[in-house]
């Protein structure tokens, strides 16, 4: 069936609404139990699809198929506790479910009507288990606008999106509004580009409309490349239609007929969902010719990126779509003036687009209620690093970093001290403790030497070496540089080499000055955003953690105990039980001792392999500036990490 008018749309909504209503917490006597299995990338990689199949089998075995239905759904955001299985009615939130738990889950919960307590969420501090999702603080503290459908609907069923008032904004726009009215609403809402730079979205649409050249194109930038960031991926996986609807609206407003979604090929789940979504939208006439009986035609094509970080830069992205090498070009002309095949092209990020339908439905006044003076609405962040609750969260602009890291994020792992949080990925800067209470918005972050970026937040504890961190990001920037302009191609290479020297104990005090000067010059001179922001990690760590640099250069020590060449291994005499295991582990015979006396390490002979550290049963061997050895190195991302093979772990 084709949707031709608003009545058709309402009919679809009504058909699917009962299921949604129950998931929203209504006990509406549906006579049906729904099981939502998270099918985002994170849960899928921890076997959520096996769980789903097993569930179906078990239900079949118990003859529950009539009354219990299993659905795929998008990311809940609480990736730390995945795979997640949610049961309605009751909003029962089961965490870290394994395929072997399924049998018990079905027998207890579905057959006997008892909760499986051991799978419920447990608060780490109180030890209390919480059955309902709504009682979990992680969710309570958030305001989910963009992520409103993630974890709620089945992203592979367009009807469920429509039941959530999806495509009603589009219908309203096409049937009742002029393009300039729509753009006006977007402008008034204060929505700014969520891809990083924060350009006002309404303004961008206006500029594109004003171009006389035709045809025009709309491009959705889904080339999310920041290490540790997965906002866009989760939106595409959990709510693809919100992006399609917004693209259709944008296309209608600027007078185009063709859209492209540039998505990373490394996002197979997102790609599959998008393909299904586009197919379904075409089937029921929400993509194609004569939408809602009007003369407006629109279709979307998927373009796959091969994983170059720089292709997230808009001009490089355009080159890539056109089949050229993904390299940026100087602007002006901006893509809004000359984009795909020289035609005006509107490029918006996934999260920006996903905000559009809800703004149009609820009104710009409603949207402006959230946020700060210059940054309106909400922002999705992905939490990663040394934080308890890694995952995806959405909070209003202006929320403080402290709320995000310590309240929603649950604080630092392993009882360590907070050191810094890196926002904006490799292009961002490190924000130290003193700014924890700063409200997050575009301007504030820029002020303190970082950027909003696409919303990645990597939390670092005292176990992280800031010099090593800067080196890690520079390595990334150098790897991902397209090689076109001099400062980015050679400049970041030289920065990296200086940082490598420092982490290897070869640094000179003069290097710190060169590091800073060269960073400023690279920022001023680079062709595109990648190069201009590549020195940010260096500049921000130099600004806030200069003493760590000095410790590396002057004192030849790494306070965090990360930089291997600077490790100063010593035995804590009080802890040592003189078992002699360390001496046996030492391949170079650097450790000596006698029974009942503390052992000693000869620094001349020691090659800093840390074999003794791993062997010591009492953790009595200290690294760095006298701190206890951080054996849990593998839990963190930056503990001596940074080489490309560690990158996927982000």
């Amino acid at each position: 069936m084709k949707i031709r008018n608003i009545e058709d749309l309402i009919a679809v909504k009504e058909k699917h609404y009962p299921l949604i209503k129950q998931r929203l917490g209504h006990r509406n006597g549906l006579g049906l139990t729904q099981i939502m299995v998270c099918s985002g990338t994170a849960c899928t990689s921890s076997e959520s699809q096996a769980i789903r199949k097993k569930l179906e089998q078990e239900l079949d075995k118990h003859g529950l198929k009539e009354n219990v239905r299993v659905f795929k759904t998008g990311c809940f955001g609480f990736c730390q506790r995945g795979p997640i299985v949610m049961v309605h009615p009751g909003e029962i939130f089961y965490c870290q479910v394994k395929p072997e738990d399924v049998k018990e889950l079905v027998e207890a919960h579905l057959v006997k009507g008892q909760l499986v307590r051991r799978l419920l969420f447990q608060d780490e501090n109180t030890g209390k288990r919480t059955p309902s999702k709504d009682d979990i603080h992680f969710f309570k503290a958030q305001k989910r606008i963009v992520l409103r459908n993630c974890g709620l609907i089945n992203p592979e069923e367009i009807g469920e999106y429509i039941a959530r008032d999806g495509y009603f904004a589009l219908a309203d726009v096409i049937l009742n509004k002029r393009p300039d009215e729509v753009i006006d609403i977007i402008s008034k809402s204060g929505l700014r580009g969520r891809g990083g730079a924060g350009f006002p979205t309404g303004k961008k649409w206006e500029i594109t409309v004003a171009q006389e050249e035709n045809p025009k194109y709309v491009v959705c930038n889904a080339d999310e490349g920041d290490p540790g960031a997965f906002m866009d991926r989760s939106i595409l996986e959990g709510d693809p239609h919100s992006v399609l609807e917004a693209m259709t609206i944008a296309t209608y407003c600027i007078g185009a007929n063709q859209g492209y979604i540039y998505v990373r090929a490394e996002y197979p789940v997102a790609v599959e969902r998008l393909e299904i979504a586009i197919e379904q939208a075409r089937e029921i006439g929400l993509l194609g010719n004569g939408l809602f009986g009007s003369a407006f035609d629109f279709d979307i094509e998927l373009c796959f990126g091969a994983g170059a970080f720089v292709c997230g830069e808009e001009t490089a992205l355009l080159h890539s779509i056109m089949g050229q090498r993904g390299e940026p070009r100087p602007r002006p002309p901006y893509p809004a003036q000359e984009g795909l095949w020289g035609k005006p092209t509107l490029i918006n990020n996934v999260e920006t687009l996903a905000s559009v339908p809800v703004i149009l439905r609820e009104g710009w006044e409603w949207y402006r209620e959230y946020g700060t003076a210059t940054s309106k609405g909400t922002k999705v962040f992905s939490l990663a690093g040394k934080i308890r609750n890694t995952g995806l969260i959405e909070v209003p602009m202006g929320t403080s970093l402290r709320t995000v890291v310590f309240d929603i994020g649950g604080g630092i792992t392993g009882g360590r001290r907070f050191k810094a949080v890196q926002t904006g990925g490799p292009s961002g800067g490190c924000i130290p403790e003193q700014f924890l209470d700063l409200p997050i918005d575009y301007e504030n972050l820029k002020e303190i030497g970082s950027i909003m970026g696409s919303g990645g937040m990597i939390v670092m504890s005292e176990d992280n070496c800031m010099v090593d961190l800067a080196r890690f990001y520079l390595e990334f920037a150098q790897d991902e540089s397209c090689g076109r302009c001099t400062p980015c191609r050679i400049g970041t290479k030289r920065l990296l080499e200086i940082l490598k020297r420092i982490t290897e104990g070869q640094g000179k005090m003069e290097d710190l000055r060169i590091l800073e000067e060269l960073s400023f010059d690279i920022r001023d001179a680079s062709l595109c955003g990648l190069g201009q922001t590549a020195p940010n990690p260096v500049l921000s760590t130099l600004r806030y953690f200069k003493d760590e640099y000095i410790a590396h250069v002057r004192d030849k020590t790494c306070p965090a105990g990360v930089c291997e060449a600077l490790l100063d291994l010593r035995i804590d005499e009080e802890k040592c039980i003189a078992c002699g295991l360390c001496a046996k582990a030492c391949a170079v015979g650097a450790i000596s001792g006698a029974p009942k006396q503390p052992y000693r390490i000869d620094p001349e002979k020691c090659v800093r392999c840390s074999a003794c550290v791993a062997r010591c049963p009492r953790k009595a061997i200290l690294r760095g500036a006298g701190r206890e050895a951080a054996i849990n190195g593998k839990a963190g991302i930056f503990t001596g990490a940074g080489s490309p093979e560690n990158r996927p772990a982000l």
Binding site: G483, T486, D524
Partner: protein
């Protein structure tokens, strides 16, 4: 002739839009550069506007309308504008009303210096022994910016120098990634040999998979060499071999100079572009010790005789039309790679310098009683493609190569310097006879449109028995990339076309493919013809740097002046040519001329390195006196070359 903006043809595009001629855009804008009000045409960039106002902004990657990518970041300027935090590349930033620009603020100077220091930190700085020493854009900029030490140390490229072929040497370690070679190869020549490979610091600009140029569809034109600001791309030098021949008392060394050399060699010695230095050229060659100094213009006349007859014969029989000229070896290789189906349309005439070589070792040797084995023919050419051409196995008789060594204009200039000859003080001398006598028609071979004009002058005479009154087909020359005209021969109109730059050739060939009818077409591989050849002087000195290809006009004008100044302006009037037909060849297209002066072509395919491209089939356009000695679509020429000259 009216001076036109040099147009590389309609193929250079800026983000999808065709360039319009700047002259046509009359709208002027006023902007402020360094506190001075400057007027500029809309559509110009800041660098051009400043240049026009006498403010020089240093640049490395910029080549007007060909490479405006803002990659080197040396031309950075400060643009005063709200929200503008970074510096802007002036070569890519369009002018606009009331724009305020600072080209030399402390910040600009500091960053510029850093950029050049960074480039130098990754550059093999062996200036004193470098082939481009004192003629290097990077060197000049480093000096202009006062760089005395480079504070950045670190990894440096160490890729072996690629010199396996006979025409172009590639040194990746001196490449600054300005991409001018890539731009000229893909946008002007549309051969697309070069592209960026790898990313970040590992980026190299190279043929696919870093293959040697002889393994890809390179047409050897050498435009990339002209475009290179450093010594990353250079011609394959064979100066030493020529010195060796000159020093050998057993050898009789004959030199010939291509038409365009007389108007370009002077540039190296400080003469303005477009100065005719024929007399000094001859004098310098005598002083270098060549036994005979001849002119390729003579065989250009001969080529016209052969080609005009070939044209008339084909018109008569109405087959293998259009006749495509074959005197540009770059174009010939282009056709072999990309349009093998048209090889039979190519004139079977060898290019003039090969004809010259063949005649020297037969006609001249016989006349002078010399042993052909002992004759060494050196050709001074504006061209790297001629180096490749000379190494083709079909360009020879028996074991003897027609031409032994090809020197570019630049190499000759180096030899003159090595010999300590004061070029500017040389007397003017004349070419030796008989192979130094040439008509004006031979001279204009050196610029685009010249071949067809010269051939038409003769063909007209041959068909009507009358001399053509108006000798200048101006519409045939000039610099637009692709021209066409109707000419009347025997009362019948024939359609001729002229293309220069293989990008334009591609357009013409695609039109032919689509079924359009032409009778005769002249195609030159290099933009501007031989005056823009890949072996011509490069402007990289501090006094003389070019940011566009416009200078080629002046060289072409000078060739015209040579033509105008001559009594003899038609090839068939050349007494030496008449004599060689009487004494030796008989008549044009005779059996002996077919054997000595004509050749055949080899389809090579667009991906020669993969042994899969190309069309199957025989040897199109085979000269009757010649049979293909080998069956191959590979580039045998170079293998042969390497075998014959292992030391090079």
């Amino acid at each position: 002739m009216e001076k036109q903006e040099f147009s590389p043809g309609p193929v250079v595009r800026k983000t999808g839009r065709l360039y319009d001629n700047l002259e046509k855009e009359t709208k002027k804008v006023k902007l402020i550069i360094d506190g001075r009000e400057v007027e500029a045409s809309e559509g110009m960039n800041i660098l051009e506007a400043a240049h026009a106002a006498g403010i020089e902004i240093p640049s490395l990657c910029y080549l007007r309308r060909i490479n405006e990518i803002g990659a080197c970041r040396v031309c950075l300027v400060e643009v005063e504008m709200k929200g503008m935090r970074t510096l802007q590349a002036s070569c890519a930033y369009p002018v606009s009303e009331e724009l305020v620009v600072h080209t030399s603020s402390p910040r600009v100077r500091r960053v510029r210096k850093t950029m050049v220091e960074l480039l130098l930190s990754d550059h093999h700085r062996e200036c004193t022994t470098c082939i481009r020493n004192l003629n290097c854009e990077l060197q000049n900029i480093a000096d202009n910016l006062g760089i005395r030490n480079i504070k950045y140390t670190g990894e440096k490229k160490a890729i072996p120098v690629q010199n396996q072929n006979s025409f172009i040497v590639r040194d990746y370690n001196k490449c600054i990634k300005c991409r001018r070679c890539e731009a000229i190869c893909s946008k002007v020549q549309e051969v697309n040999v070069y592209s960026a490979i790898n990313r970040g610091y590992d980026t190299v600009i190279a043929p696919a998979f870093m293959q040697d140029l002889s393994q890809v569809a390179c047409i050897t034109c050498g435009q990339c060499v002209i475009a290179c600001p450093t010594a990353s791309l250079t011609e394959k030098e064979c100066i030493d071999s020529v010195w060796e021949a000159l020093e050998d008392p057993d050898k009789y060394v004959v030199v010939q100079t291509a038409p365009s050399i007389q108007v370009t060699l002077g540039e190296v010695f400080g003469y303005p572009v477009g100065t005719v230095v024929t007399g000094k050229l001859v004098a310098s060659l005598r002083r270098l010790g060549f036994d005979k100094v001849f002119s390729t213009d003579f065989t250009a006349d001969l080529t016209i005789m052969e080609e005009a007859h070939e044209l008339l014969e084909r018109l008569e029989k109405q087959h293998r039309l259009p006749l495509l000229s074959s005197c540009s070896p770059g174009w010939v290789k282009f056709a072999e790679h990309f349009y093998p189906e048209f090889l039979e349309n190519l004139s079977t005439c060898k290019s003039p310098h090969e004809m010259f070589g063949a005649l020297t070792k037969t006609y001249f040797a016989e006349k002078e009683g010399l042993d052909p084995e002992k004759i060494v023919v050196v050709a001074i050419m504006p061209c790297t493609a001629k180096k490749f051409e000379a190494s083709r196995p079909e360009m020879g008789t028996g074991n003897l190569k027609d031409v032994d060594w090809v020197l570019t204009t630049r190499e000759l200039a180096r030899m003159i310097r090595q010999a300590g000859i004061n070029f500017r003080n040389l007397p003017d001398e004349d070419y030796d006879t008989p192979m130094g006598i040439a008509s004006g028609a031979g001279a204009i071979f050196g610029s685009t449109g010249g071949v067809i004009e010269a051939a038409v002058r003769t063909a007209y005479y041959l068909t009507s028995g009358q001399e053509l009154d108006i000798l200048n087909y101006e519409e045939l020359r000039g610099f637009s990339g692709l021209k066409e005209a109707w000419v009347e021969l025997k009362g019948r109109p024939i359609k001729v076309a002229i293309a220069h730059g293989t990008g334009n050739a591609r357009i013409l060939m695609d039109r032919l493919k689509a079924g359009e009818k032409f009778d005769y077409a002249e195609i030159m591989a290099c933009p501007g013809g031989c005056v823009g050849g890949g072996g011509q002087p490069i402007f990289g000195t501090r006094e003389h740097k070019e940011i566009s290809l416009d200078y080629r006009h002046n060289r072409a004008d000078a060739l015209d002046r040579i033509d105008y100044s001559k009594e003899l302006r038609r090839a068939h009037e050349n007494p030496a040519v008449k004599k060689i037909y009487e004494d030796f060849l008989g008549h044009p297209l005779s059996d002996i001329s077919k054997k000595l002066l004509h050749t055949y072509y080899t389809p090579r395919g667009a991906l020669p390195g993969f042994k899969m491209g190309g069309t199957k089939g025989g040897y199109a356009g085979r000269g009757e006196g010649n049979a293909p000695p080998h069956d191959s679509r590979e580039i045998k020429g170079d293998e042969q070359f390497v075998k014959n000259h292992p030391a090079v």
